[in-house]
Subunit: 369 residues, 2 copies
């Protein structure tokens, strides 16, 4: 086994665990910063370590287009290429094909499409998705799945589930890399019967970990929060559970409460680049003139380099002057916020106080907004 | 005295010295990275310290326009504002008024112009230039001078020299901040008689340091290299000498040979943002396809974070993908190159081997290009 997973503490449905990988261990529940193009935008690996990032996500679709997975393999794999020696999870590329590529045609064989960069014709099959991720050398790879849009009809969703199951099987059969774990992805939209059926089929194939797909394009937070406990509860208890592409701080807490172990989302970095800071006292828009003369840190008490070194007034200036350092510093702070939130959740689970922890945070954020 | 300067070693005209300021001491000859808008573009103060930057340059014109020097004073001064606790030198803003502002009108009173940011009407007088820099709280301030274009006729240059002398006197009279040194600027183009006359007048006023202005817009490197020994030789021996806005690595070595102690230039950072790396084996264009699969560091043996962590192939990818981290890492490396070059020059002067050091470097760069 390339990975092991142990649930160390439980608090109702929430769990705190330890995931070990060939590149070190990860305390769960964990948030994974997104390094789409072999870099978390604007941040060095040193900066990511400084906010205690444990594991990063890389994007298969982007990396096979540019610089190419064979090139990354030739240069020693994704870890060495991007200077990150801790664990990496790669997605399968399916989600990006459907959201970014053009002229997408899909059948049971796979997806054919044109690159969003140069329009060149490409194909992604379950076998190719595995091959790319084996070239990248991530610690955890994901099966190719078909993620239908939120407004798809029941027939489309049912067909996507059937195809995702078929593809998961082909991915598993094609996967050979011993130092990489391959996770399955459950689809089915908000139809719990379909989710249940999909889960049953995938669990029978015995993957080392399971993800819930489709929620980041789903019917919105209330529907997701309602569906999560059931969907997570269907998954094997002793294997890691990953909620893909979600989301806001309150969504992470809902996921943890439902028994999810792993999360990823571009929100902290994308919002950071757009001058929006997450803080425990609610969000801050650093472009707002109210921050112009403010000597306070972005979030008082935050131990990150941005908050211990600079004022809101300085951040406001950097964004007003369109200086690169603004997006860099605020991405760093937002990741610090997300990673501290998850560290707090782990601690609360260990103490058996997660429900209180969650309620307190939600109340604080509510009163701030 | 807010600063002291001691020449510790001499090697022909070249000198190695120690400049002490209220924010610490600086070994000379020194290169000052340029932090135009209260940030060296894309780099944190921590990164600047990691390549042994000793002193930064800030731009008075940019900072008074945005965020404003009163605001910076209110937030504790430029050092605290930008999180840099080592020395800072600020220019007077004159050079930027003439190169960036629009509708510039100039007379003995000062310069009136419109902001290049929002078109608002502004005025810069010698007194205001001093006031701004006192608000910024730099360790070293510069007098307001008039820097005529390279192709100006002798009458224009003569008038600019006369006005620069007049303004230097007014700056000195207006300057009150005890923890800040005010340096004078010698103008005169490539007319050595005018340079000599301007120097004599300014030396009589007894400034704690002297700069040579106008060479960055001058008649080109050969004329500058020829004029530098004479121009530097006219300056007081026991005070720091600063060659403004110059330049390429070979220009720095020519300046050091002529007895210059301080330099600043945007080349290392601007070129870094444009994917051009300085190395001892000659320049590298990281966008060039030849670097695509290259596992070598940008410069082998360079101790900077970029070179010890990443390959040329990775840098090529970052620039191809338009990722912020590319400009950041290559700016860092280029500053490391410039600062190591100056450290090497200091060591060579101490050993009495500067001429050999310079000749070896020039030969190496020549053979590489």
């Amino acid at each position: 086994m390339s990975i092991t997973f142990t649930v160390l503490d439980r608090d109702q449905q929430a769990r705190a665990g330890l995931l070990t990988t060939p590149h070190g261990s990860v305390e769960t529940p964990v948030f994974m910063p997104v390094g789409t193009q072999a870099t978390v935008k604007g941040l060095t690996p040193d900066m990511l370590r400084s906010v205690s990032a444990q594991i990063l996500l890389g994007n298969t679709y982007h990396l096979t287009l540019r610089p190419g997975d064979e090139l990354i393999a030739e240069l020693g794999g994704l870890h060495r290429f991007m200077g990150w020696d801790r664990p990496i999870l790669t997605d399968s590329g399916g989600f990006q094909v459907f959201s970014l590529a053009t002229q997408v045609k899909i059948n049971d064989h796979g997806a054919s499409f044109r690159s969003h960069i140069d329009g060149s014709p490409l194909e992604l099959t379950p076998e190719r998705a595995v091959e790319i991720q084996q070239n990248l050398g991530s610690d955890i790879a994901m099966v190719l799945d078909q993620c239908p849009p939120a407004d798809a009809g029941p027939d489309v969703i049912r067909a996507a589930v059937a195809r995702s199951i078929l593809w998961a099987e082909r991915c598993k059969r094609h996967h050979t890399r011993a130092d990489q774990a391959l996770f399955a992805i459950v689809q089915g939209g908000t139809n719990l019967d379909l989710r249940s059926e999909c889960t049953r089929e995938l669990v029978e194939m015995d993957f080392p970990g399971y993800a819930l797909g489709g929620f980041s394009v789903g019917e919105g937070p209330p529907a997701m929060h309602a569906a999560l406990p059931t969907c997570a509860g269907l998954l094997p208890d002793h294997k890691p559970r990953y909620l893909m592409g979600v989301g806001r701080p309150e969504d992470l807490l809902a996921g943890v409460a439902a028994g999810i172990d792993m999360f990823d989302c571009v929100m902290p970095t994308r919002n950071g680049r757009n001058a929006l800071a997450f803080t425990d006292a609610g969000p801050l828009r650093l472009r707002n003139a109210i921050h112009r003369r403010d000597p306070a840190p972005v979030e008082s008490g935050c131990p990150c380099y941005c908050c211990t070194t600079f004022s809101r007034g300085y951040l406001h200036h950097l964004f007003a002057a369109d200086e690169m350092l603004g997006p860099t510093l605020l991405s760093l702070h937002n990741l610090s916020f997300y990673l501290r939130l998850m560290a707090g959740a782990r601690e609360a689970i260990r103490a058996g106080l997660f429900a209180t922890f969650r309620a307190e945070r939600l109340a604080r954020w509510d009163s701030a907004s």
